[in-house]
Symmetry: C2
Subunit: 210 residues, 2 copies
DNA sequence: TTTTGCACTAACAATATTGTTAGTCATTAT
DNA sequence: ATAATGACTAACAATATTGTTAGTGCAAAA
C-alpha cells in the first residue's frame, strides 16, 4: 500500500513479504497461516520456506523493517532539549499519529507479540528499552525548567508520554470496535486522523497548562 | 483470582473454565490450546470436550460471563443526565479503571477477537451497539448545557469517551511493553492504578475547562 | 557445450491440534 | 441386586500446518 505503488511486477520475495505483513498484522502470529500468505502472494507455500526458511524468520524480517521507523518517530524529537517544549510535543503527536494511521495494525500486533512470545521480542524491545529512559529524563528536565518559570504544570514525563501514546494508538488498535460503538466515527479515515491530531494536541496542551 | 478465593475443591467444570479464561486471554483465540487448558486444569483434554463440546462454545461461555459487567461499568452512569457532569466523569473513570485493573486482559482480547473473527462477535457487540449512541447523545446534551452556562468547553462527547477509554485501557493492554519501556512504572500494580486514576481524571477535567 | 546456480514445483514427512468414541468406574435410584 | 446415570479415561481419527526434499527447467558462466 505504501511500499510499491506500481501495478504488478514485484519480485516473488516482495510479494510474499507483502502478503505476510497483511496476514501477520491482521491475524496475529498464532493465527497467521503460511499457506494463506503463499496463496495471497500467488505462489506455492514451499516458496515461502525457500525464501524465508521458517515462519519465525519471516516475521523477524518484517519486524526488523518496521521497528526502526517506529522508534525514530516516537522518540526522535522528544528527547532533543533544544526544541521548545510545546512545539516538540505538537509535532511528536502529529508525526506519531501519521505513522500510526499508515500502519494501524502495527502497535496492536507488537503489543500482542510482546505479551504472547516474550522470549522472541527482546532483541527488538532492547533497542527501545535503552533509548527510552534517556528521552524521558531529558523531557522531564525540560518540563521542570518550564514549570520553574511558570510556563507549564510540573507533570510526570513518563505519564505524559503514556498519555500521548494512549490517545494516539488506542483508537486505531481498537478501530473495528470503536467504529461499531461510536456510529462509524472512523469511517472516513483521513478526516478522523486530522480530527484526532487536533483533539490530542489540545488534550495534552490543556493538561500542561498551569 | 476473583471468583473462588478458597483453596482447591472446585468442580472440574469450574477448573477448566478458569484455565480456559487464562489461556484465551493471554494467548488469544488462535494461540490458545485446548490441551494446555486441560493440562492447567489437571484433567484430560477429552474432559474439556465433554463439558463444552468445542473450543468455540467454550469461548462463548466465557465471553457471555464477562460482557455484562463490562457494559455496565462502561456506560452505567455516563448516560444518566441527573448526575452532575463532573462527578459523573470522575466516577466513571475511577470505576472503569478499577474494572480494567481487575480484568487487564479483557479489553485487548475483545479488541483482537472483534478484528480477527468479526463473524462471531456480533451477538456480543450488538448489545453494546444499541446502548452506546444513546449514552453519547445524552452526554452530549449535558455537555452542551454546561457549555451554554460557561461551565465547560463544548467538546465532542464521542471524542471525550474515546479519550477516556484510551487513557484507561491502553496502559493495561500494553502493560508488558509499557513496563519495559518506562522502567517498571507498572511494577506496583496497586499504586499504578491509583496514580492513573488521578492522572486521567485530571487530564479529562483540564480538557473540559473553559 | 557443459556446468553451475537459481527459482521453482510436487509430493511427502512430521507433528500439533481439535474432536470422537467405546468403554470403565462409582454412585444413586429402583 | 440391578439398572441407570454421570464423570471420566485411553485410544483413536481427521485434519491442518509447518517444514523438507528430490528433482525440473532455464539462463548465464565456463
Amino acid at each position: 500500500m505504501q511500499a510499491n505503488p506500481q501495478s504488478e511486477p514485484q519480485s516473488t520475495e516482495e510479494r510474499i513479504l507483502e502478503a505476510a505483513v497483511q496476514e501477520f498484522m491482521t491475524k496475529g502470529y498464532a493465527g497467521a497461516r503460511t499457506t494463506a500468505m503463499a496463496e495471497a502472494a500467488g505462489v506455492t507455500h514451499a516458496m515461502l520456506h525457500y525464501y524465508f526458511r521458517t515462519k519465525d524468520k519471516l516475521l523477524d524480517r518484517i519486524i526488523e523493517s518496521k521497528i526502526g521507523t517506529l522508534r525514530d518517530i516516537m522518540l526522535a524529537s522528544l528527547g532533543d532539549p533544544t526544541i521548545p517544549l510545546f512545539d516538540k510535543i505538537k509535532s511528536t503527536i502529529e508525526n506519531h499519529q501519521d505513522f500510526i494511521a499508515a500502519n494501524p495494525e502495527l502497535p496492536r500486533f507488537m503489543i500482542n507479540e510482546v505479551l504472547n512470545r516474550p522470549d522472541r521480542m527482546p532483541k527488538v524491545i532492547e533497542r527501545l528499552k535503552h533509548h527510552t529512559p534517556l528521552v524521558v529524563q531529558s523531557l522531564q528536565r525540560q518540563i521542570d525548567e518550564y514549570a520553574d518559570r511558570g510556563l507549564c504544570r510540573r507533570v510526570d514525563a513518563g505519564m505524559l508520554m503514556l498519555d500521548i501514546v494512549s490517545l494516539n494508538i488506542f483508537p486505531f488498535s481498537a478501530k473495528p470496535m470503536v467504529n461499531a460503538l461510536l456510529g462509524g466515527m472512523m469511517e472516513n479515515s483521513q478526516a478522523f486522523v486530522e480530527a484526532r491530531k487536533i483533539e490530542n494536541v489540545e488534550t495534552i496542551m490543556k493538561k500542561l497548562q498551569p
